[in-house]
Every structure is written in structure tokens, then in C-alpha cells.
């Protein structure tokens, strides 16, 4: 392996932070700002693939920030974290490309570029860190950058500024509570175990468990992380902020939030429970299965009642993240792999749907689906993209969403979780119903009453808008007809999760100076 390449993990975090600063200085030159940001974003995406490739071939990579070993902060790139980085870099790049044309010029020029880079840094930092307190720090970066991005203005925006404020307020307050809970949990953990390094925590807690000295409040601390990550992932009963925030955000930010941000919660659960709190899994699993089912039901039923296309998609995200957590709750290798397959497919399909909804809103000048109709003639690209997304979310072949549902249900039944699978299956019918109802409302039927609602915009979507949508739609289709690489990768990740020894070895065998 080339020596410089071992710095990849920190590069993926440091460069976006640097870019955030640089973007502020380049405000006088819009063209350079756009060109540089999108180029760097593309390079970051390429590097994330390189990192995954290295980890796949060369094993887990550990990067010590400041060479303090477990006494300082380390970054760990295992298959899960580098896989998540690839996913987020991909969606980020496409969302950024889309933003260049979609976000209102002044907003884009003044702060959007910087904030977006910090969001990317926050995501990569969260995925790559091997330190539980450092994860808290990056959660803060994520929270504030996403808050600030939600209020960014879009061209010809249809969302009132006051709505954005209200949504952001709720988002901020509820996430602050989440942050406090995380702080309490991390502090208590440090006070009890005496380390913040996740691998070290894992080793010590296992040792305590084996020696019989594991205090009961470790379990309480462990379960508090359900509140922390559950809130990020928007699972019941902490999903309330999502249907307000995701629709009011500008569409590329909605795509980032629904596509990647809520998956941070799933990542956190996987990392913390399957690495550190393995002894608490017996409590964790039934709770998560219960919450996941409640999430599926609430999201799916609520989605049926929406006429705002983005709010429908937001409720759908709630429901779909429930399926991911169902897999996490089952906790077998197959189920974890299935949860990851589901996660990836949802990320792709849902971010594509949000991007598409942005195009639809531009075209129709409203988010209200009952004021649309017959758009299959006027925006054929959006109609095909939305159909592919709808089919994928509804779990219809030949889209990726079908493979995701198939492996998830299969894993659930193999683990003999008959009742949860029956419930999940029943509400999959709701998914089918609301996704297709939305598609039919917007694209079939007569073209809307022009006198009442005005003509559709004749403005053609630029390539910056259509390329991200087409790319994601193609991925949703490819993962449906050839899912083998994704499933194989997910299974390898799941095996690393079930047996964390390689992770621990990679970290703990480092010599501390």
C-alpha cells in the first residue's frame, strides 16, 4: 500500500473543513466557488471509493490523530464505516451538483457552500471516528450544519420562511435534548469504564462481564443510546421532527437528510451496540423490534394521508427507516446484512425522490399533489424517475427496493420472527398504495385546471438537475437487477459486526508511545 494513502481517513474529514473556510474567502467569485467545490466533492467521492477498496482488500485501517493511540482520538475505517462514507459521499456529490442550479444564487454564494462542506465533514467524521466522545462532537457539527442548511433559500421557493423557522426550531430543540442525553451517557460511561475509545470500551466491558463485575447502570447507559441514535434516525417516538424538517428543507438538503442523515442513527446503533454493548443486546433487540414496528406503522399510515408530496416522502422515510431497524433488531448476520441492503437502497431511492420532487415543484409551482396532474406529458424525465423511486420504495421488482425487502423478510423468517414480519409485510401494502397514489395523482389524469392553478412552468430542467436524478435512478435499477456486489458487501460488513474481534485487534494492537 502506498504510504500517503494511509492518511485517507483524515483527508476525507479535513479537506471538507478546509473547503468550508476556503469557500467563504471565494465569495467574490461565484464561478470559481462552484467549480472548485464540485471538483473537490467529486475527488472526495472518488477517494471514498478508494478507501473502501483498500479496506476490502487490506483490512481495517486505523488512523491515529496525533499518534496518541487509545489515549487520544483514533479514526477507524472498517467495512461499515468506509461503506457509509462511500454512500454519503456519493449522495453528497450528487446533491451538491443539483444544488448548484437549484439553490437561489445569493444564498448559495454566501454560506451554502461552506455549510454543505461542514455537513459532509460531519458525516465522514461521524462514520470514521473510533472515539465515542468525538462522535458527540461530530454530531454537533451535523446538527448545526443541517439546521443552517434547512433555512437556505431555493429558487422560486414555495416554502414560507416562517415554516422553515418553526421546523428548524423543533429540530434544534429535540436534537439538543438528544445531545444532552448523549453527553450524560458518554460521561457516565467514561466515569465507569475509564476510556472513550470504542474498541477499548468493548474490551473492558467484555472483561467486566466475564468477571461478573459489570454494574447494572452500564445497561441503563447502553439503552440511553437508543434515545440518542433513535432521535437521529427518527424512529418512534422520536420521529416527530422529521415530517416537519424534511419537507421544508430545500430539495437537495431533503435528499441529504432523508438519504444519509437519518442513516447516521442506524450507523450509531450498529456501532455502539454491536461493538461496545454486546452484553446489552438481549435488552436492545426486543426494544428495537418494537420501536421499529411502531415506526413502520406510524410512518406508513400517516404517509397515506398526505397531499404535500415532500411531506409524503418524509413520512415514507420514517416508515422505511423502521424496516432498517427491524433488521438491526433481529440481529443475525443475515438480518444485519439485510438492514444494510435496505439502508443503501432506501438512501438511493429516497434521495432521488426528493431531488425529483424538487424538479416537480419547480415545474408545478406547488407541493400540493392535488393541484398537479397529467405531468407525464410535460415532464417525462421526472415521471420516469419518480416511478422508479416509487417502485423501489414499494419493493417492486426489478428495483433495488425489492431485493432489500426480500432479504430482510427472508432473514426475519429464518430467525423465526413470524409476527414482526407479518406486520411489516402488511404495511408494505400501504407503501405500495401511497407511493403509487402519489405518482398517479401527479403524472396521470388530465392536466390540471390551468385557470385555477396556472400553467406549468415551461422552464426546462438543466443537466445539473437531471444528471443526479438519472444517476440515482440508474443505481436504484442496477441494484435491483444485479444485487450481488451489494449483498456480498453487506454480508461481509454484518460478519464484521457480529464478530468485532478484528476491529478490536486493529485498534488495540497499536503501540502507544
Amino acid at each position: 500500500m502506498i504510504a500517503e494513502m494511509s492518511h485517507l481517513p483524515i483527508i476525507l474529514i479535513a479537506v471538507p473543513i478546509l473547503m468550508a473556510a476556503l469557500m467563504l474567502f471565494l465569495r467574490s467569485n461565484e464561478g470559481v466557488q462552484k467549480g472548485l467545490n464540485i471538483t473537490v466533492s467529486f475527488v472526495m467521492m472518488a477517494l471514498s471509493f478508494v478507501l473502501l477498496w483498500q479496506v476490502w482488500n487490506g483490512g481495517i485501517q486505523v488512523y491515529e490523530v496525533g499518534e496518541w493511540g487509545k489515549y487520544g482520538i483514533i479514526l477507524v475505517a472498517d467495512l461499515l464505516s468506509s461503506g457509509m462514507v462511500v454512500l454519503s459521499s456519493l449522495v453528497s456529490f450528487l446533491a451538491l451538483l443539483y444544488s448548484l442550479d437549484y439553490i437561489e444564487g445569493k444564498s448559495l454564494n454566501s454560506s451554502y457552500h461552506s455549510l454543505f462542506n461542514l455537513l459532509v465533514a460531519g458525516l465522514n467524521g461521524t462514520f470514521l471516528t473510533g472515539d465515542i466522545f468525538n462522535m458527540f462532537v461530530f454530531f454537533e457539527i451535523l446538527l448545526l450544519s443541517s439546521c443552517a442548511l434547512v433555512v437556505a433559500n431555493e429558487k422560486g421557493g414555495v416554502t414560507k420562511s416562517s415554516d422553515k423557522m418553526e421546523a428548524t426550531f423543533k429540530y434544534l430543540v429535540l436534537n439538543m435534548i438528544g445531545s444532552i442525553v448523549m453527553l450524560i451517557a458518554v460521561a457516565s460511561l467514561y466515569a465507569t469504564v475509564g476510556t472513550l475509545n470504542m474498541a477499548d470500551l468493548s474490551v473492558k466491558i467484555s472483561a467486566m462481564s466475564a468477571a461478573g463485575t459489570l454494574p447494572w447502570h452500564i445497561f441503563a447507559i447502553a439503552l440511553l443510546f437508543i434515545v440518542v441514535f433513535g432521535n437521529k434516525a427518527a424512529i418512534f417516538p422520536m420521529h416527530y421532527w422529521l415530517p416537519d424538517v424534511h419537507p421544508t428543507a430545500p430539495s437537495p438538503i431533503s435528499a441529504m437528510l432523508s438519504g444519509v442523515m437519518i442513516k447516521v442513527g442506524a450507523y450509531g446503533m450498529l456501532r455502539v451496540f454491536f461493538l461496545i454493548f454486546r452484553d446489552a443486546l438481549f435488552l436492545f433487540q426486543p426494544i428495537i423490534i418494537f420501536l421499529a414496528l411502531a415506526t413502520i406503522i406510524i410512518g406508513a399510515v400517516s404517509a397515506v394521508g398526505q397531499k404535500d408530496v415532500k411531506r409524503l416522502l418524509a413520512y415514507s422515510s420514517v416508515s422505511q427507516i423502521g424496516y432498517v431497524f427491524l433488521g438491526i433488531g433481529f440481529g443475525t448476520v443475515h438480518a444485519l446484512a439485510a438492514a444494510l441492503v435496505f439502508l443503501v437502497n432506501h438512501a438511493i431511492a429516497k434521495s432521488m425522490l426528493f431531488l425529483t420532487s424538487g424538479g416537480i415543484i419547480h415545474h408545478a409551482g406547488t407541493r400540493d399533489m392535488t393541484k398537479m396532474g397529467g405531468m407525464i406529458k410535460t415532464t417525462p424525465v421526472m415521471s420516469v424517475a419518480f416511478l422508479i423511486g416509487a417502485m423501489s420504495i414499494a419493493g417492486l421488482p426489478p428495483m433495488g427496493g425489492f431485493i432489500a425487502k426480500f432479504v430482510l423478510f427472508d432473514a426475519g423468517l429464518l430467525a423465526e420472527y413470524y409476527i414482526p414480519i407479518a406486520i411489516a409485510l402488511f404495511f408494505a401494502v400501504f407503501t405500495l398504495f401511497y407511493m403509487f397514489r402519489a405518482w398517479l395523482l401527479m403524472f396521470w389524469g388530465e392536466i390540471r385546471d390551468v385557470e385555477k392553478y396556472g400553467e406549468y412552468s415551461s422552464h426546462k430542467s438543466s443537466y445539473m438537475i437531471t444528471i443526479p436524478i438519472i444517476t440515482l435512478a440508474a443505481l436504484a435499477f442496477i441494484f435491483g437487477i444485479y444485487a450481488e456486489p451489494l449483498i456480498a458487501l453487506s454480508q461481509a460488513i454484518a460478519e464484521q459486526l457480529i464478530d468485532p474481534q478484528p476491529y478490536i485487534d486493529a485498534v488495540m494492537t497499536r503501540v502507544v508511545r
Binding site: 496518541w68 455549510l115 457516565s188 469504564v193 463485575t213 447502570h217 441503563a220 440511553l224 394521508g305
Partner: protein, 790 residues
């Protein structure tokens, strides 16, 4: 080309060529349909290449290509007689339909889309029947549902099309999900998705029959089959599917796609038959559907409506026959059902095509307006009569033969069951036949016989162009040939199919004349009763209309419409109840979960909730300080105005910094003082902009509830922290030893806290600095976006 490759190409050729349609449309213009028909013909021939091996030698062609090995699924083909039969029907009828469409579809229509979906459908159908594993079967199965949805909604601006398309998709795809669950259960029982492996191993089949999940697996799979083949309560989508262009109805909704459910029943026959459950479920649904749908056909005024109900009823015949089973004779009606499957494809597709011709030439499909067309369209009249009479079971047509076999197998099944069934089952069969006879005659009579209406019909009506006449005429020819020379289809295709289903070599003897048997008597009874009923046809229809008007809720459609129409309203209500909008509820929910997750280990695991070694040795300074803190905290919560409440809050903060000083952490105390001062100033600046008093009156009950929640949250945090501060569990120790030892030698700093912040954990600090910058940018953004608004 070997058989495996031939079939693989036959499956994928339509998919690839569907992609070529736009190019072909540029070249061929409105003649693009011939390209589609040629594709279907190519698939037909390719399947034919496998015929010598499968049908002639009786081999089952198998083969697979690695696809998703990680999930245990490969692309695999299983070609037995059954697969060949339906493969031939799908591609063969496909050729006729796509040729016919060249005449039927106006040049103004979107031909590209039309032929693309037809080809995609055909490929999916062929792929489905040749699938060797359940997952592949399911994928193609759902593809047929989706292409069917697209074709039913071909005229997508029409509300009726949207209604019909939605209904078909919801019912068939939801049924499909149940079927998927059934397949997955079958996998948990057998350990394999591979149908070929299950079918070839009698031990596995026995294990399935004895497994505790047998019944639920069977029910789930049958739900999928019934939804697809419009059986039982799921029938309601098929009549509305008639919104599709007529060739589509002929192809998908009579000859091929709706047979997918029947195919599935035949495919899983060896695994599940020979049990009571199989007979009760399959034949039960079949008999019920056959009678109800046959009866309800009377009410229809649209020719396609009659044909739709007739299709449902005819499919139910096949269901019933496949369901006839006993433990010793698992496949009593298999031969009859299979033969009827083939025959139905010929006469029903022909009738649909005739319906298309009539609509095309006479501009209406309303049977009340039609009549007397025999003179203007003599050839169409003859073709239609052959097909309709075959459906009615009149010799010497093929429908007569399979209906006779239906009666025979019903007699046999009844006799084997004994008791009342000896009579009941054949009687039901005859009744089904009577209804069929009546509406078949109605079709001929209503369209071609009687008086021609001048008022409703155009002045000049003539025969259609040859492109539209040859396909139904060809089908009518098959009807006659299969009727007169039954050994031709029976030996070439029906026998191998039956062998494929029963998993043993079958020999059938079907003859036009087989003496005065009981079944022939039943046929004669059917004709007599059918004629009698036909004289009361309109009265029965009127009765049905009256009944429906008086009792609208006695209908499956009523419940479907009710559920779908009210779904949005109910769901919206649900979402407003679960998501009331006020952040208070959301916080409450989150905090309640927090309390719960702490309570769970407290209740289940904790030996002592409060550590036994608590140190109650509190110095007077500490006591005073803590008391101050408590008072300040309480005051900040209960004071009625913002200003005093904020001051109490900052008093709390300063108290904490005092505590830090007392605990010998001056740097922390300094930080705390600075933060507290700054936030108090900001608060006070902001407070001048908002009302000085809480405006809302909070009821006592809410107050107590909030108090209880707050106390519970405080208690759970308190308990966790109290336990956590009991020190690090031995033998582990804090990292601070390392920091104390190494901060000077390795990092060159005396102040450990500083070294931690800028060196050991400098990376965290970088993050926190970014957070600060972010906050600044965020505030800038907020002000900016407000400026835009004004």
C-alpha cells in the same frame, strides 16, 4: 442452440427488443407493430426449439446462471410440459395480438409505449413460467402485474383507466406480497428457493406436508394466485381492467396473465395436493367463484364486461379441477384442467378480438344497442359463433371436450368424497355450465342476431381489415381442429404438461365421441337448463340490478371503494392525532422513552439502585452551595415572568461555577462564568423584544403531568450519574494517569487540561471550533433568509 439457451433467449429477446422499439418506430412508423409481432414469433420459435427435448423425449430441461449467490438465488430455468404449454400460449397468442393491433390501434396512438409494454409483458410471462426458483418466479410475476397496470392505464388521462389500473395493481401486487411471504416460508421449511430441487425430492415434499407451517404457507401462496387469477373476493379488479385497449384484454386479461395464478396452482400442485386443505381451499374458492361470477355476468351490458365475468368463471373451472384431490389420487382433475386451460385461451382470446372488431366497426360495445350484425359482418359472425359455442360446450368444438372432462372429474371427486358430495359437486359443475351456456348464447344473440338498431349504430358497418380478421379466424380454426382431432393437442402438449404436474408419465385418451356416459347426460341437462334460463336472461339481470340497488353493501367492490376512498381521510386524521404539531408533545414522548429505557434495567437487573457506599459526609460550604443551587433551579422553573426566571437561571449557572472553584477547578469555573455571563446578557437583550409574561394559562392537570415527567427524568439521570460516579470499575483505571505522566515529557505542557484540549484531544477541539463557526454561519443565514422574505 441447446434447449436451455433457446429458452433463455426466448425470455430476454422481448425485453431487449422492447428497448429497440423507439428506434424501430422511427424506421417503420405506424407499422412498428409488425416488428413486435415478429419478436413474439421469434420467442415462439425459440421455445419451439426446446420442444423436441421436453415434449418429445419427456426431459425436463434445467440450467442456471449465477446471479445473486449471496442470497441463494440464481437465474435458473425449469422447462417441463407445463412451462412449455403456457410459454407457447403466451408467445403464440402474442403473435396474433400484436398483428391484430396493427389494425386496431389508431395511428394517432402512442404506439411506442403500447408495443413496449406488450413485449415487456410477454417476456415477463415467459420468464415466469420457466422460472426454476420462487424468487425469480416472483420477480417476473410482479413484472407482469406492473406491465398490466401500465396497459390498463394506457389511456392515462381517463379517470376510469386510472381507477382500473390502481385497482389491479393494488390487488395483484398486495397478493404478490402474500405470495412472497409464502415462498419465504416454503424456504424456511425446505431450506431452498429452488422449485426444481423441491419437486424432485419426495422426502422434501412429504416434509412440507407434515410441517406445522404447511397451512399458512399454502394460504399465503394461494392468496397470490387467487389475486392474480381474479378468484374469490379478489375478482373485482378484472372487470375494471377492461379499460385497457381490447387487444390487451384479449392477451393479458383472458389468455395469459390471469392464467398465472392457475399456472402457480399447477406448479405447486405436487407439493401441496393430496391434502384436505388443498381441496377445500382450491376447489372451494373455485366452485364459489365459478358460480358467482357466471351468475353476475348476466348483469353486464358491455360485451367486454360479459367476457370479463366469463373469464373469471372459466378460470374458476380450472381452479376447481386442479383442486380435486384425495390422498390416494392427488390429481383427479389435472388433465381436464390443463386441457381446458389451452382451450379457454383459444376461444376466449378469439371472443375478445371479436369484441374489438365490433367496437371498432360499430363504435359501441353496449349489448343493448347492438344486434343484427350478421348480414354486415358474416365472417365475424361465424368466427364469433364458433368461439362462443365452444365456450358454451357445444360439440364438436374443443370447449365441449374439456367441459365433458370437467363433468367426469367432478363425478369422480364427488364419488370419492361420498355422502352428499356425490351429488353436490357435479350439480355445482352443471350449474356453472348452465350460466356459461346462457351468456355465451347472449353474446351471439345480442351482437349478431335479432333486429339491427338504426338509432344507435352507424349507417355503414362492414367487415374489419384482414389484419384484424385473421387472428380471431385462426383461433376459431384451432377451436374446431382441437375439437375434431383432440389427440393432436392432447398427445403433443397436454400429456407432457400433465406429466409435469403429476411428476409421473400420464396417458390420456380424449375422444369426441365416447358413448352415452353420465357426463354426456350432464351436458344435455346443461343445454336444456341453459336454454330455459336464457329465456329469462333479462329478468335475471333486472333482478340483479334491483338487488344491487337495494343492498349496495353486499358486494366486494363496495368495501374496496370504501377502503380506498376513505383511506386518505382516515390516514390524515391519524397523522394529525399522532402528530399534533406542538413540540411539547414531542419532547414528552422523547423524555418518556428516556425514562423507560432507564427504568428497564432498574426493574430487571439492578440489585441495588442506589450504591451502598454513598458518602454522606457533606461539608457546610457544600451544603449551603447545594441548597442555593436547588433554590435557583426551582425558581427558574416556577417564576411567572421571563426576567426573574432568567436571573434565577443565571444564578444557577454561577452557583455551578462556585462549585467548580470549591472542587479546585479554577479554569472550568472561569469558563462557566464567562459562558453564563454571555448567555445572560444575550437572554436579557432578546427578552425586550418579546412579551414579558407567559400568555397561556396552564391547567393544573397539565402542570402536574409535566412535573411528574420532569421529576422522573431528573430521577433517572440522578440514579445513573450517582452510580457512574462511584469510580471506575476495578481493575481498570482512568486515562488521566497517562495524561499526568506524559503531558510534560511528550507534549511539553504543564497544564494537563490545556494539553488535553490542544494536543491529546486537539481533534475534538477542531470539531468544536467548527461548531462555533457553524453557529455563526447559521445565524447569518437566518438573518439573510428573513431579509429575502421582506
Amino acid at each position: 442452440m441447446d434447449s436451455f439457451n433457446a429458452i433463455t433467449v426466448a425470455i430476454f429477446l422481448p425485453f431487449i427488443f422492447a428497448g429497440l422499439i423507439p428506434v424501430m418506430e422511427k424506421l417503420l412508423k405506424q407499422r412498428v407493430g409488425w416488428f413486435a409481432a415478429a419478436t413474439a414469433l421469434a420467442s415462439f420459435i425459440l421455445i419451439g426449439l426446446a420442444a423436441p427435448e421436453v415434449l418429445g423425449e419427456g426431459h425436463i430441461v434445467q440450467g442456471s446462471i449465477s446471479w445473486i449467490p449471496s442470497a441463494g438465488v440464481n437465474f435458473a430455468i425449469y422447462a417441463d410440459g407445463l412451462a412449455m404449454l403456457i410459454g407457447f400460449i403466451a408467445s403464440g397468442i402474442g403473435v396474433l395480438i400484436m398483428s391484430y393491433s396493427n389494425g386496431y390501434m389508431s395511428q394517432k396512438e402512442d404506439l411506442k409505449r403500447y408495443y413496449q409494454y406488450l413485449l415487456l409483458f410477454m417476456g415477463s410471462m415467459i420468464g415466469m413460467v420457466f422460472s426454476a426458483n420462487t424468487i425469480q418466479l416472483f420477480i417476473f410475476w410482479e413484472l407482469t402485474s406492473i406491465t398490466s397496470f401500465m396497459l390498463i392505464g394506457y389511456w392515462r388521462h381517463k379517470p376510469e383507466s386510472i381507477y382500473g389500473a390502481t385497482k389491479s395493481l393494488l390487488i395483484t401486487a398486495a397478493g404478490g406480497l402474500a405470495m412472497l411471504a409464502g415462498f419465504l416460508l416454503l424456504r424456511t421449511i425446505t431450506g431452498s428457493f429452488d422449485l426444481a430441487a423441491i419437486l424432485s425430492d419426495p422426502q422434501v415434499i412429504n416434509a412440507v406436508k407434515e410441517h406445522e407451517l404447511f397451512l399458512i404457507t399454502l394460504i399465503l401462496i394461494l392468496i397470490g394466485a387467487a389475486a392474480k387469477s381474479a378468484q374469490g373476493p379478489f375478482y373485482i379488479w378484472l372487470p375494471n381492467a377492461m379499460e385497457a385497449p381490447t387487444p390487451v384484454s384479449a392477451f393479458l386479461h383472458s389468455a395469459t396473465m390471469v392464467k398465472a395464478g392457475i399456472y402457480l396452482v399447477a406448479r405447486i400442485h405436487p407439493i401441496f395436493s393430496g391434502t384436505d386443505a388443498w381441496f377445500i381451499l382450491v376447489s372451494g374458492i373455485g366452485i364459489l367463484t365459478m358460480l358467482v361470477a357466471g351468475f353476475l355476468a348476466f348483469r353486464q351490458t358491455d360485451i367486454k364486461g360479459i367476457l370479463a365475468y366469463s373469464t373469471i368463471s372459466q378460470l374458476a373451472y380450472m381452479m376447481t379441477m386442479y383442486g380435486y384431490t384425495t390422498h390416494h389420487e392427488p390429481g383427479i382433475g389435472v388433465a381436464a384442467a390443463t386441457f381446458h386451460l389451452l382451450n379457454h385461451a383459444t376461444f376466449k382470446a378469439c371472443l375478445f378480438l371479436v369484441a374489438g372488431i365490433v367496437a371498432h366497426e360499430a363504435a359501441t360495445r353496449d349489448i343493448r344497442k347492438l344486434g343484427g350484425l350478421r348480414r354486415e359482418m358474416p365472417i365475424t359472425f361465424i368466427v364469433a359463433s364458433i368461439a362462443a359455442l365452444s365456450m358454451a360446450g357445444v360439440p364438436p368444438l374443443n370447449g365441449f371436450l374439456s367441459k365433458e372432462m370437467f363433468y367426469e372429474s367432478s363425478l369422480e371427486m364427488g364419488a370419492l368424497l361420498g355422502g352428499g358430495f356425490t351429488f353436490l359437486i357435479p350439480a355445482c359443475a352443471v350449474l356453472g355450465g348452465v350460466f356459461t351456456f346462457a351468456y355465451s348464447i347472449k353474446l351471439i344473440d345480442g351482437i349478431f342476431l335479432g333486429e339491427r338498431s338504426k338509432e344507435h349504430l352507424p349507417e355503414h358497418i362492414h367487415e374489419p381489415p384482414l389484419t384484424m380478421l385473421i387472428p380471431p379466424a385462426f383461433l376459431a380454426l384451432l377451436v374446431i381442429v382441437f375439437g375434431l382431432v383432440p389427440s393432436l393437442p392432447v398427445h403433443t402438449i397436454i400429456e407432457p404438461t400433465v406429466s409435469g404436474i403429476l411428476l409421473e408419465t400420464a396417458h390420456l385418451h380424449v375422444k369426441l365421441w365416447h358413448g352415452f356416459t353420465t357426463s354426456l347426460m350432464m351436458t344435455i341437462v346443461t343445454f336444456i337448463l341453459g336454454i330455459l334460463i336464457y329465456f329469462r336472461y333479462d329478468r335475471i339481470a333486472a333482478l340483479q340490478d334491483n338487488f344491487n340497488a337495494r343492498f349496495p353493501w353486499i358486494s366486494v367492490n363496495y368495501y374496496y371503494d370504501d377502503a380506498v376512498d376513505s383511506a386518505k381521510g382516515r390516514a390524515f386524521k391519524f397523522s394529525t392525532i399522532t402528530q399534533p404539531g406542538n413540540i411539547k408533545y414531542y419532547m414528552t414522548a422523547m423524555l418518556l422513552l428516556m425514562i423507560t429505557v432507564v427504568a428497564i434495567p432498574v426493574i430487571t437487573l439492578a440489585t441495588n439502585i442506589v450504591p451502598s457506599t454513598l458518602n454522606f459526609d457533606i461539608a457546610p460550604y457544600e451544603a449551603i452551595l447545594l441548597l442555593l443551587l436547588i433554590v435557583a433551579a426551582l425558581a427558574s422553573a416556577v417564576l411567572p415572568k421571563y426576567l426573574p426566571s432568567i436571573i434565577a437561571l443565571s444564578a444557577l449557572g454561577y452557583g455551578v461555577s462556585l462549585l467548580f472553584i470549591y472542587l479546585k477547578a479554577p479554569d472550568l469555573a472561569l469558563t462557566q462564568v464567562l459562558v453564563e455571563t454571555l448567555s445572560t446578557i444575550i437572554f436579557l437583550l432578546a427578552i425586550t423584544k418579546i412579551p414579558q409574561k407567559y400568555r397561556e394559562k396552564i391547567p393544573k392537570s397539565v402542570l402536574f403531568r409535566d412535573l411528574a415527567i420532569s421529576l422522573a427524568v431528573a430521577a433517572s439521570v440522578f440514579v445513573v450519574l450517582l452510580n457512574a460516579t462511584q469510580g471506575i470499575v476495578a481493575p481498570f483505571e482512568s486515562l488521566s494517569h497517562y495524561f499526568i505522566e506524559n503531558s510534560l515529557p511528550l507534549a511539553g505542557g504543564h497544564n494537563i487540561v490545556n494539553v488535553i484540549i490542544v494536543d491529546f484531544r486537539g481533534y475534538d477541539t477542531l470539531g468544536e471550533i467548527s461548531v462555533l463557526c457553524l453557529a455563526a454561519l447559521g445565524v447569518y443565514n437566518l438573518i439573510h433568509s428573513r431579509g429575502e422574505e421582506q
